[in-house]
């Protein structure tokens, strides 16, 4: 029984080591993004010093803010081993609704518009959620369908019209361009969203249950987690955040037509995956996803500043995505092997 002796002699060391190893991997994951971000900033600044002036940094923050909000919602869904492809279309719907409403009734209170936008998004998310949980249809198919359906509704609704900045009240446009203590308002809102969702996932039962569902769906059911309900609400939350992002989109750009937010879903999912959220659920954090959104936006901005062809921007994002996935896979395999070996060693 040498195995038992070994365990007795060095009991907590193996467990502690395994924990440290895992923690280290996750920290490295998020630090890696921060590192890549810093590297990119420095490189671009050296090549083109104008990149680091206040104006362009502000633009960077504003662009990333909208994507960070979408990424927070997407993380909720992906963690449960689902996906929400409809966020770009929901954003478009909410953006146009906000513009249309404010053009017609300039006196409308801004918080009311935000609540309406989020409610519209939540309704779209609820449709996704119902189809996925009660309809038992894979989320990929459901949200691919609603991606087109919601976009179609947007086209019907706009009927070729466009909302212009001139027709929008200044107070609303200030939301998109203004600052609080020197920090762009949009970035503050995004930060609040990311922290609220991030803490909900980290420190509340509902959040932990989402991880459980994504980690082992059958196990979650046996542990008494009401999976259907949780997944449904994850989709509602993702929709509501896409609605919020839509309202902010209008505030930022002023000009909105039926195509607002087209293709955003892929950028958001890329940002989430680059940020370390496993596409098969169970791991990752909103903070990582938000950092991923920041990194992706920075790459786009810096490539524009460096006057690189638009084609290369897409290729760079693709390369980054593949790199992140390859990295996750490699580290995951290594970690698995290390943990398995450690346990085997202990068991003899």
């Amino acid at each position: 029984m040498s195995a038992v002796d070994a365990t007795a002699a060095d009991p907590t060391a193996t467990g502690g080591e395994a924990r440290r190893l895992t923690e280290w991997v996750f920290r490295v994951r998020e630090l890696g993004i921060v590192g890549a971000f810093v590297l990119l900033m420095v490189f671009t600044a050296v090549m083109e010093p104008r990149f680091v002036n206040a104006d362009s940094l502000r633009n960077l923050a504003l662009n990333a803010a909208i994507f960070a909000i979408l990424a927070a919602g997407q993380t909720l869904v992906i963690i449960t081993r689902n996906v929400d492809l409809s966020v770009g279309s929901v954003l478009g719907l909410a953006a146009f609704m906000a513009g249309d409403l404010l053009s017609a009734h300039p006196g409308l209170a801004i918080p009311a518009v935000i609540v309406l936008g989020m409610a519209l998004g939540a309704a779209c998310g609820a449709l996704n959620g119902v189809l996925v949980t009660f309809g038992q249809v894979p989320a990929l198919v459901v949200t691919l369908g609603t991606l087109y359906a919601f976009r179609g509704v947007a086209f019907l609704w706009t009927d070729g019209r466009q909302v212009n900045a001139e027709t929008l009240p200044d107070a609303f446009l200030n939301l998109g361009t203004g600052s609080i203590l020197g920090v762009p308002t949009l970035a503050v809102i995004a930060l609040v969203v990311v922290v609220v969702v991030g803490q909900a996932l980290r420190d509340f039962r509902v959040g932990r249950e989402l991880y459980a569902i994504g980690s082992n769906p059958e196990g979650a059911r046996l542990a008494g987690v009401r999976s259907g309900r949780r997944v449904f609400w994850a989709f509602v939350a993702s929709g509501a955040l896409a609605g919020l992002a839509g309202v902010l989109f209008t505030a930022r750009f002023g000009t909105v037509d039926a195509t607002a937010g087209s293709g955003y879903e892929l950028t958001v999912i890329s940002a989430t995956v680059v940020g370390g959220v496993a596409i098969f659920g169970g791991t990752g954090s909103v903070y990582g996803a938000a950092l991923g959104a920041l990194l992706l936006n920075t790459i786009t901005s810096s490539l524009i500043v460096l006057k690189v062809d638009a084609f290369w921007q897409q290729a760079a994002i693709g390369a980054l995505l593949l790199l992140a996935i390859a990295f996750d896979r490699l580290v995951g395999l290594r970690l698995d092997a290390a943990l398995r070996r450690r346990s085997a060693l202990r068991a003899g």
Binding site: M1, D203, F204, Y211, A212, S215, L222, G282, L339, G348
Partner: protein, 503 residues
Amino acid sequence: MNAAAQPVLALEDAAKSYGAVHALRHGNIALRPGEVRALVGENGAGKSTLVKLLGGVVRLDDGQMLVEGEPVDFHSPTDARDAGIAVIYQEPTLFPDLSVAENVVMGRHPLGGLRRIDRREMRREVQELLDRLGVRLDAERPVRGLSIADQQIVEIAKALSFDARVLIMDEPTAALSGPEVERLFTVVRTLRDRGAAVLFISHRLEEVFALCDTVTIMRDGEVVHSATTAELTPGEVVRRMVGRELSALFPKEAAEIGAPLLRVHRLTREGVFTDVSFEVRAGEIVALAGLVGAGRSEVARAIFGIDRADAGHVEVDGRRLPGRRPLAAMRAGLGFVPEDRRQQGLVMDLSIARNATLTRMGALARGGIIRSRSERRLANDWAQRLQLKFHKLDDPVGFLSGGNQQKVVLAKWLATEPKVLIVDEPTRGIDVGTKAEVHRLLSELAGRGVAVLMISSELPEVLGMADRVLVMHEGRLTGELSRAEATEERVMQAATGQLEAAA
């Protein structure tokens, strides 16, 4: 234990069917406070179905369930848990990405202010539970990478964490080492003394007699006997479990035994199986027997190169196989009919013809294009030889009955004319008539000089078909019996690890 006490949980004349298969009939069992009851029976006797009923995973077709004498109807595992019933299933139900502590308290995290999770309290609670179980396990480490034994401990901690009145353990000791089993027993006895009812499922009879007060014996989906352990002997329990005559359904015709075609040398996969060596000769059918979870399928997967072996090697007809290369194994003349034909053996949506000829695509192709005429000819040929019952060869293979699906998998491999064929549970879930045909086929193959390695949990099949029986127990070969030596009792003894001690 007080025999007159009101059962805390009972089933009366319970029945459950899956389609036309009666998984459980006349299910009568009563668990009383302060009692440890054993549930024993062969693989497929209906134990797991009974456990799933009690755990609220499946619902009764007939009969009733009583908690404290009151009829109840569990709609979900949550209902069972709320009634104070904790089930530890054979398959792990843990969350690999989350920490041990979170796995234990999932859904019932201790909360602090603002209903936030109190991580310190969670860690303290779980660490205390783990200490009570006498295991050195860090509550904060992720479950991913834990050994089966440690995962089992986490499951038990989970059950303890909500002070279950009834604890149901489906083969909790299958993967535990001696001291770990002792530790578990201590915990179970403590729980019993505090008034919990425990249902303990195990294949190891010495454990049953060491731990349990009462025994319920199942056979062929029915509860056949219930008694106190004091009234029974291990031999009697085995007889009641087996309880039938060997049928003549399984003929292995005499075949000329030739040179060894498959040679497995000291194959090891860490934490799964250890030091497995054997050979199979031309014309021979060798059965690999053992309990579910003994590591038999894993050995087969490693031989075929699906999983990596950490040590040892495999030779087919004298040629050493490169590890982890199923294609190379196929080229060397190895065929593998996996256990789960729906997931691993067939592409359910593809046609019968396509499935049957999947392994021969290379030979059927002309210039890279598969000619459907030759595909059909080959498929038709095999369909006739195997007496396949089908409507059209273009129908998806999912339309066929289980037995006929299995024949398609066999056809697929037979078309490659293998020297060695590994079949994993070839007749599971197949009706009796087709079963006999599969057996006839395997026997015919051996007659033509193929070396057959057959993994089977059905003892009559093992005893009827095999020239030699290898028995595995907890990842090791624990017995090798010739056809003459092999009896149900001896195989069961080796499979439960009792032969080791005797030898």
